[in-house]
């Protein structure tokens, strides 16, 4: 019996390889046809996400609680009416300790009527009994180690190269895991699209040279926005960090949030 390489063997193997290549090419074409997808460059035209690093910072000393940011965000991003907020304002009222109680500081009374969208009504305690009171705007904290991105089962929420944390509404299955995993309560399930939703830093604005809607309308510069990779002259972010001592929310959870708060009190969670 002849052993070794025979002509038939070689031709057979070549034929198989050729068939394999043809099948792979055919499969790739078929795949594109099946998906009916015209593959685009993936990034917005003229915008390179690797060349920017967006950041927002909050100055609690400057927030006047007008709620224009909350309203603007809802308008700009078509957020449905109801308890769905991409950003909101909390009011902290710290009453004076009761006379004779010798406590250090009483607990804050916190409220956020409709997210603060239409401003705030009278405080829950009379003016004379208030020791401290302030407003805290809240939004996605742009975590370095986002727990929300970690737990998404399908890859619908992600960190972008330019510092935002986004959700792909055409891919999200609406399981709600990311909403549970966010320690800051900044995510919600959109009742109309049935997908998760959150602050996107107005990605559709910042990639075209505009500011996020909340930063745009804020009358008192409580929201500071900038591009760490392309700072403008008199960069407000740089000034913010130079002039303020800052804190972050829930540092013990290890999420490494990039949004810092100047003038934050120990009662703020």
């Amino acid at each position: 019996m002849k052993t070794g390489v025979s002509r038939r063997n070689v031709l057979g193997k070549l034929g198989a390889a050729f068939a394999g290549i043809m099948t792979a090419t055919a499969a790739k074409t078929a795949k594109a046809a099946v998906q009916k997808v015209f593959v685009s460059s993936g990034a917005p035209k003229g915008y390179d996400p690797t060349k920017h690093k967006w950041l927002m910072a909050i100055d609690i000393n400057k927030c006047i609680g007008c709620g224009l940011c909350v309203e603007a965000c809802k308008k700009e991003n078509n957020v449905p009416e109801g308890p769905f907020f991409r950003t909101w304002i909390e009011r902290y009222v710290i009453p004076k300790p009761k006379p004779g109680s010798f406590t250090t500081r009483t607990e804050a009374i916190v409220d956020s009527p409709n997210g603060g969208m239409h401003g705030f009504p009278e405080p829950p305690v009379p003016v004379g009994e208030i020791e401290q009171s302030f407003f805290v705007p809240k939004l996605c904290n742009l975590c370095e180690h986002s727990p929300c991105v970690q737990v998404c089962p399908v890859g619908a929420t992600f960190d972008t190269p330019d510092g935002a944390v986004l959700i792909d509404p055409n891919y999200c299955i609406g399981c709600g895991f990311c909403i549970q995993a966010c320690p800051y309560g900044c995510r919600f399930l959109n009742p109309v699209t049935k997908t998760a939703e959150k602050c996107t830093l107005c990605y559709h604005r910042i990639t075209r040279g505009l500011k996020p809607a909340c930063v745009e309308v804020c009358p008192s510069e409580a929201r500071i926005f900038g591009d760490l990779k392309n700072p403008v002259p008199d960069d407000p972010i740089k000034k913010f960090y130079e002039n303020n001592r800052v804190q972050v929310l829930k540092p013990h959870l290890g999420t490494e949030p990039r949004v810092s708060y100047a003038g934050m009190d120990k009662e703020v969670r």
């Binding site: 709620g67 302030f134 992600f158 500011k211």
Partner: protein, 176 residues
């Protein structure tokens, strides 16, 4: 409960039985039928999963990370409602100049006048010119507001009158 037989059963006969002691070549190992069927079934199932995965995964998936790369373009192509102060300055530069010299220079036009992208695209679409209720939005006295902000109580500060009777919104120090 399985009884073990002393030898191999072939064609119903025990080949190693004494009476049948002719030389028979050792039978090659035969893969048990269960294993054969199961392996085929496994290959079919795993194979169809891999094929399905190849076809059903979006093509831009994995471009920048574990997500659809196209999502970046889709999210950045959404329509805008607010135009931004620069867009207002293009046509209303005189008002913006007056504003920039006064206390309200940091305010955005759309904060008081409402969304402006539609108007910026087509000036025939009118925009709100707000009335006095917008002023109270920021200037209503509230103990939570910082002290550097000028605050009045609408209950005691000329109740019932419009703010614009005594104040010019773009230049708060001026009188109309």
């Amino acid at each position: 409960m399985v009884r073990r037989y002393a030898g191999k059963i072939e064609n119903g006969k025990n080949v190693n039985h004494q009476e049948n002691r002719t030389f028979t070549p050792r039978r090659s190992f035969r893969m048990p039928p269960q294993i054969v069927r199961l392996v085929l079934l496994t290959i079919t199932i795993v194979g169809s999963y891999l094929v399905a995965r190849f076809f059903l995964t979006p093509s831009s998936f994995g471009r920048y990370g574990w997500y659809r790369g196209e999502a970046l373009e889709e999210l950045s192509s959404r329509p805008r409602s607010f135009a931004g102060k620069k867009a207002c300055e293009e046509c209303h530069s005189d008002e913006c100049l007056k504003l920039s010299k006064a206390e309200h220079h940091g305010l955005s036009c759309e904060g008081c006048h409402g969304v402006g992208q539609a108007h910026a695209d087509n000036p025939d679409i009118k925009i709100d010119i707000r009335t006095f209720s917008e002023c109270a939005r920021c200037h209503e006295a509230n103990p939570s507001r910082p002290k550097w902000l000028k605050q009045i109580s609408t209950k005691t500060h000329y109740p019932g009158q419009k703010c614009t009777e005594c104040h010019v919104p773009h230049q708060p120090q001026e009188v109309p």
